[in-house]
C-alpha cells in the first residue's frame, strides 16, 4: 500500500475543482495550475525513485484487496510516462499563458486542462480495465470541451466529428469489456493476466483482444486515424500541442499494456496484425505529411507516423523493440509538443498556415528558426538527438523478429518525415523575409517553454545512457508479467 500512487490523479483533480468552485482571477488560476502540475511532477519523481528502490508500487482503493477492489499500479513504465507528462503539460501551460486569450481563460480553460491531465495520469496508473475506461472518459470529456472552447466555425465542425468518433469507440470499449468479463469473470488486469495464462488464449480471447486493439487504435490513431488530422488542426496552438503530445499516447500506452500484460500468448496473430497496422499507418501518415503544403496538416500527419513507429517496436515483441518503443514514446511526447508549439507560433506570426505565403522568418526570429531546425532533425531521428536512440532500437527489434519489411518501412518513412519538416524549414524560415519590421510580433515569453523543450530533446538524446537503468526496469516489468501480478496481489 502506498498512497502516493493516487496523488498524480488527486492533485490536478482537486486543484481543478477548487478553481471551478471558487472562480478566482486568471492570475490566481495560472499560479494554482503551475503549482499543481509542478507538484504532480515532483510526486512522479518520488514514485520513480521508490519503484527503483523497492519494486512496483500499488494501492488497493478503499482497502478492498485485489481482485475485488480497484487497484492502482505504478510500475517504472507508467512512472516515466507520468514524469514526462507533468513536464510537457507544464511547459504547454506556460505557453498557453501567452497565447490562449482572456475569453478562453474565463471559460474554465485551466480547470479543463487539469482535468485532462487527471484523466491521462489516471489511465497511466490504473490496474483495472473498467477504471481505465473511466479515466479515458475523464480525459475525453475534457478534450471535447477543450477542442470546442471558443466556438469558432471550424472548431465546432471538427469537434462534432471528434466527439462522435470517440463516443462510438467508447461504446466499443464497453462491449469489449463486457465480453472480457463474460469470458474471464474479472476485470483486474493482474487477475486477467493470470486467468488468461491459466486458460490459454483461445480463439474467443484473441477475438476480444482484437476488439480492444480496434478500440485503442481509434484513440491512438493507429491505422484508424481518419479523424485525427482535422481535429488536431482545429483548436488553438497550446491545446493542439497537448493533444498531439498526450492523447494519442494514452491509446498507445493502453495497447502496449494489454498486449504485454494480458494478451501476449498469441503474438503470431495479434502482434502481426499490430505490425501490419503500424506499417500502413507509417506509410499513409508519411504520404500525407509529404503531400500537404499546410503547416498544420504536415504536423498532424507526423503525429500519425510517430504512432506507427512506436507500434512497430511493440509488434517485434522483443526486449530491444520494446526498449525502442519506450524511448521513442517519451521522445515523441516531448517532440510533438515542441513542434506543434513552434508550428503554431509560426502560423500566428505569419497569419497563415499555407507554406507558399510564408518565407524568411529566420531573419526576424533566429531562435525560433534554429529551434525548429533542431526539432525537425530530432523528429527524423538524426543522432545525437532523442529520436535517434528509439529508432535504432525499434529497427533492431523488428529485424530481430524477422519483420524486415516493417523495419524498412520505418526507415523509409523517417526520410519522408525529414523531407516534410525540412519543407517547412526551407520554405518558411529560409528565403527573403517578407515581414516588415513594425509588424514584428512579440515572442519573448513564448520562447521560454520552447527552449526548455529543445533542451530536453537534446538532453534525452545525449543522456540516453543516464536513464537507461530506469528504462531497463520499465522493460523488465513489461516483458515479465509475473512481476506486475505479484506486486498487485502483494505476494512479491
Amino acid at each position: 500500500m502506498n498512497n502516493l500512487v493516487i496523488m498524480p490523479i488527486l492533485i490536478p483533480l482537486i486543484t481543478g475543482l477548487l478553481m471551478v468552485a471558487f472562480r478566482r482571477k486568471a492570475v490566481v488560476q495560472r499560479f494554482l495550475s503551475v503549482v499543481a502540475l509542478g507538484a504532480t511532477g515532483a510526486v512522479s519523481l518520488v514514485l520513480m525513485v521508490q519503484i527503483k528502490d523497492s519494486g512496483i508500487q500499488t494501492l488497493q482503493l478503499g482497502g478492498w484487496e485485489a481482485p475485488f477492489g480497484v487497484s492502482m499500479v505504478a510500475d517504472m513504465f507508467s512512472g516515466m510516462l507520468l514524469l514526462t507528462t507533468s513536464i510537457v503539460s507544464l511547459l504547454c501551460l506556460v505557453f498557453a499563458f501567452y497565447s490562449i486569450g482572456k475569453e478562453r481563460e474565463a471559460h474554465y480553460f485551466y480547470p479543463l486542462y487539469l482535468f485532462l491531465i487527471t484523466g491521462v495520469n489516471g489511465s497511466f496508473l490504473t490496474g483495472d480495465m473498467f477504471n481505465l475506461f473511466v479515466c479515458f472518459e475523464v480525459m475525453l470529456i475534457s478534450s471535447y470541451v477543450l477542442i470546442s472552447l471558443g466556438g469558432t466555425g471550424i472548431q465546432l465542425r471538427e469537434s462534432i466529428k471528434y466527439v462522435l468518433i470517440n463516443i462510438l469507440s467508447s461504446f466499443l470499449f464497453l462491449v469489449a469489456i463486457a465480453y472480457l468479463y463474460a469470458a474471464t469473470g474479472t476485470l483486474n488486469m493482474a487477475h486477467l493476466s493470470e486467468r488468461v495464462a491459466e486458460a490459454g488464449q483461445n480463439g474467443i480471447l484473441t477475438a476480444i483482444a482484437i476488439l480492444f486493439l480496434i478500440v485503442f487504435s481509434l484513440k491512438a490513431g493507429l491505422f484508424l486515424f481518419f479523424w485525427l488530422p482535422g481535429s488536431y488542426s482545429a483548436p488553438p496552438t497550446a491545446i493542439a500541442a497537448i493533444f498531439a503530445a498526450l492523447l494519442t499516447k494514452v491509446g498507445i500506452y493502453s495497447i502496449i499494456r494489454i498486449f504485454t500484460l494480458i494478451f501476449y500468448h498469441e503474438p503470431h496473430i495479434t502482434h502481426l496484425i499490430i505490425g501490419i497496422m503500424a506499417a500502413v499507418t507509417m506509410l499513409l501518415g508519411a504520404i500525407g505529411a509529404v503531400a500537404y503544403w499546410d503547416i498544420k496538416k504536415i504536423l498532424t500527419y507526423n503525429v500519425i507516423v510517430g504512432v506507427g513507429l512506436i507500434m512497430a517496436g511493440l509488434a517485434s515483441n522483443s526486449t530491444v523493440g520494446l526498449t525502442g518503443s519506450m524511448y521513442y514514446l517519451i521522445h515523441d511526447i516531448i517532440i510533438k509538443a515542441l513542434i506543434f508549439l513552434i508550428g503554431g507560433t509560426v502560423i500566428t506570426l505569419a497569419g497563415t498556415s499555407k507554406l507558399k505565403y510564408i518565407s524568411g522568418l529566420i531573419q526576424t526570429y533566429p531562435f525560433l528558426g534554429w529551434m525548429f531546425f533542431i526539432a525537425a532533425l530530432s523528429l527524423a531521428g538524426i543522432p545525437p538527438l532523442s529520436g535517434f536512440i528509439g529508432k535504432v532500437f525499434i529497427t533492431e527489434g523488428t529485424f530481430e523478429a524477422g519483420f524486415l519489411w516493417l523495419g524498412a518501412i520505418g526507415l523509409i518513412t523517417s526520410l519522408m518525415v525529414l523531407y516534410s519538416v525540412m519543407k517547412i524549414f526551407l520554405n518558411g524560415f529560409w528565403g527573403d523575409s517578407y515581414l516588415d519590421e513594425e509588424k514584428k510580433g512579440e515572442v519573448k515569453g513564448i520562447l521560454f517553454p520552447l527552449a526548455i523543450l529543445t533542451l530536453l530533446t537534446i538532453g534525452l538524446g545525449v543522456g540516453a545512457e543516464g536513464i537507461y537503468s530506469y528504462a531497463e526496469l520499465a522493460i523488465e516489468s513489461l516483458m515479465n508479467p509475473l512481476l506486475y501480478i505479484e506486486a498487485v496481489f502483494g505476494r512479491g
Partner: protein, 141 residues
Amino acid sequence: MKEPNDVILRSVTKVAVLIILTFAINLFFSGHHNPGGGFIGGLAFASALTLLFLCYDIETVRENIPVDFKAVTAVGVLISVFTGIGGIIFDRPFLTQAFDYFQLPLFGKTELATAVLFDIGVAMAVIGTAITIISSISEDR
C-alpha cells in the same frame, strides 16, 4: 408574450415539488444498505427543480434559488474526494470507509458511516450537473 394558461400545472407543481423533494431525501438516506443513495436521490432532487423550471420561467427560479450550480457540482465532488482523503490521513488506502454505532438522543442506536459523507458529495454533484445541463440547453432561444 401571452401568458400561457397552465393553472393546473402550477397548482400541481406547488404540491408535487414538496412531495418529490421529501421522497428524494428519503431515497438518499435509505441508501448504503437498501436501494437508494446519493445518485438516485440527487436525480430525484434535480427532477423536482426541473419541474419548477418547466412551470415557471428560468429567471424566476434563478431569483428564488440564487445558487451557481456549476459550483455546487465542484463542491460536491470536492466533498467526495476529501472523504476519500480522510483514509490517507489515518494511513489507510485512499477511499477507505469507516462506520460505527452511536447512541444518539431521539434516534436511539444509529449507524453513522463516512460513506454518507461521500454520498452527500455525489448527490450535490448530480444535482449540479443535471441543472447545469438543463439550464445551458434551454438558455438562449
